[in-house]
Symmetry: C3
Subunit: 343 residues, 3 copies
């Protein structure tokens, strides 16, 4: 997937990497090993991965020092994955959106849009809302009254940010994300049935947070729902009202966190896991895929299964469970033997 | 989070509550106990909760009669939660949307929009669609042909209501909800493969229903999919085609209900639970989080786990499961002992 | 739900079916047996189903040859389900959208929209994007730069197709679908934290694929994420980056597939199941509801449970699990008996 043509010498310089090979050779794209053409740059993380190069026609490889890449040129790196993806960003640059507000966007008179920001076709920006420098609103984004977007954010198509929510800098929201929907909180109504608890709180999102397509983060009831800086959230994730996620947490696709649960920094929630409300999850805790967490977790604690148990317990129980039908028969046999003796 | 300033005497009168304390004291917002300032109103549900007041500087508390709130003024209530949130609604009123159709909205000539309704920027309203008195369509809402919205509804940004769906009064749809997507129904096609079953049915939604962000309710095949009055549905929930939910049901985030299942009134489905198709779930049944329900449930029946079992069985089995690896060893020991004897 | 009035003789001819009964009788809609009026067409799949006809007033029935439908007229069919739904499509035709681009849509100068295509109100079509013959974009659809839509596709309201994604012919996307969101891939950043892996790959979708409301398909990292022809995906499904689904696969609501997993043709993933990344799932494999798949599956292999096991094992273990608390007591009793003997 070529886009530019770059001399290897120039590429090495831009990435700050040492080059072994021909500085005048040209590469024009990045690729996985199995799909590469001669013009592609590929990467290997170690000697073991380098064996996969085989007949790969790629002219150049990002590789750790000392790893044999055959007749190819090598860009030497202590972190080939990172540097390969830095190169990818050079070949396939993030599309730039021109500064300015599209004629079809509807922006309230008292909204403040930085002149360097981009507001795309059909966006709606409410009263008192703010969009910071260089931030991009793709088509169809809706900012309710008072929503505040920091600098260098990217809000993809059809993102909704509800009233009063606050985003830091460099926040990326994939298409369809809903920030600040009303929490699922009800009290008894006077005539019976349920009355909605009004939301006084907002959603507060730190710097460098990224949230995947169609995920939903509910606004807080009395305090803010908070997502700490550097936290990454995948697609179709639900974060309930009043939750507080620490910094650099990871929440994988379709996981759900019920209201008022608090996560320390660096906690990880794997795909389709569920965490009940009003819990405290320690820093760097790890919740496995499809787990159901019903109690607080200590710092660094690792759990899986429903209800949660240690990965070791879970594996041991899962293995034992397979032998359970047979165990039933074995116990019955022992009982019969005893009965026979007793006669 | 102050917004108004109100005399306690006036607030007590508006809420219809008895006041013990200074009617001329002023409060200007609501808060949880831990975040309160002197100007905030807080609430406690009982004597036990009142102990948490500690050094809380709040000037006034909604509390049951007789519960000691220290030197603070007390608004006496038989239901402090409900009355506190009624007060919150006074301090943080629901934003009002001006009547009228935004110039950027596209409304079919034969659609009927009540003059008191609000149709926001970029909405699209199809042929024959109707929007009732005082209903609000936030920016980007799409009503397909013939969709009918009752009175006092709120459709948040980017809601889609497909052809012919019918909403009652006071229905609230959070951003991104899809009402009336096509059901997942296929029959064999003539040349092999799958042919879509056309949807003749619609979605019918009763009064006072609320549905959370990015949830999806499929339209019926031959009959309508129906959501009974007063039912509350959380975010990212899937309701399959032909389902019938009774009145005042509760469906929590990321739960899914397969096609043609019928729920009695007051049934509860907790987060991430799944219910297979063509079942009958009795009134006031309770389905625990992450449960997988594969059979009909009786009125009031409570289940959890996959496949469903009683909460008591589930807890007992979960506890026993932890001892299973050890049990395997114990049975092996008994067998060895027998073998030794037999020799 | 009447829409047309058709003579049975004409209907039989249009469907290519034999008619037993009155060719001049008129039907005006389709219905399930329990809701039918005299003017409705109903269907029965077999003799067993025909017993449900009872007092059903419907004038005409699609039924297999030889099945007794009482005094009603019969359209004889070898596949009554399929032919009934073909008849439904005649009574309730797919609404036609007029060719042309709505005045409120924003289309890049160099986008290519076939003159027979429909681009609805408020759509945004980026630079270099293409929309093929007779394809329909409902209101609010966003095509990023270079997105390519084939012929006879239907993109429902608020669908987003990200940069460079390619759709075949007759693809149907329900409201809110996000094609080509960024994958959940990170590498270590230079200053610590996580740096986003850029997406060079796209999403490629084959002919006759259908995707349900608010589902998300991430774009590939270096290669394309691919969805094979004829595959049907339900609502709120997540497909991770670099996944390859074969032809005619079925993925039911709220299922999730992690990155880089490859499915053979005809594989089925039931509701709320999860499949971890980098696996190979054989053709025609079947993954039961709520399953958690952690290993490769062979062709035609059937699994359920977490971690995956055979349906037979799963049922047998689930049944045995119910007896586990009692088993613990029985083993304790055997042990006590031995201890007593040993004394």
């Amino acid at each position: 997937m070529a886009s530019h043509r770059l001399r290897l010498g120039d590429l090495a310089e831009r990435l700050g990497l040492g080059l072994e090979g021909d500085p005048d050779a040209v590469v024009s794209g990045v690729s996985g090993i199995e799909d590469a053409t001669a013009d592609d740059l590929v990467h290997v993380r170690s000697e073991v991965y380098a064996r996969r190069l085989g007949e790969c026609p790629a002219r150049a490889v990002v590789a750790p020092a000392g790893v044999d890449v055959g007749a190819r040129s090598a860009l030497r790196s202590v972190d080939p994955g990172r540097d390969f993806y830095r190169a990818a960003r050079i070949f396939v640059p993030e599309p730039m959106a021109a500064a300015g507000v599209h004629a079809s966007a509807v922006v309230a008179d008292d909204a403040r849009i930085d002149p360097s920001a981009h507001v795309g076709a059909g966006c709606a920006v409410g009263s008192g809302a703010e969009v910071g420098p260089r931030s991009v609103l793709h088509p169809g984004v809706v900012l309710y009254d008072g929503a505040r977007i920091g600098a260098d954010c990217v809000l993809h198509a059809r993102v909704v940010v509800a009233a009063g929510s606050v985003l830091g800098d460099r926040v990326v929201l994939q298409p369809g994300v809903v920030i600040g929907g009303s929490g699922f909180g009800y009290t008894g109504a006077e005539g019976g049935g349920l009355a909605k608890v009004p939301d006084v709180g907002r959603v507060w999102i730190g710097d460098d947070v990224e949230i995947g397509a169609n995920s939903t983060i509910d606004r807080g009831t009395l305090r803010d729902t908070r997502i700490g800086a550097g936290t990454k959230i995948d697609n179709l994730v639900q974060i309930g009202h009043n939750c507080v996620l620490g910094e650099r947490c990871v929440v994988v696709a379709q996981a759900g966190i019920a209201g008022s649960t608090v996560f320390g920094d660096g906690a990880v929630v794997m795909a389709q896991a569920g965490v009940t409300g009003h819990l405290r999850i320690g820093a760097n805790a790890f919740i496995g895929p499809q787990a159901g967490v019903h109690r607080n977790l200590a710092e660094g604690e690792r759990v899986i299964g429903t209800p949660q148990r240690t990965p070791r317990e879970w594996r041991s129980e899962s293995a034992a469970l397979k032998r359970l039908p047979e165990l039933l028969r074995r116990v019955r046999r022992l009982e019969r033997a005893r009965e026979d003796e007793a006669e």
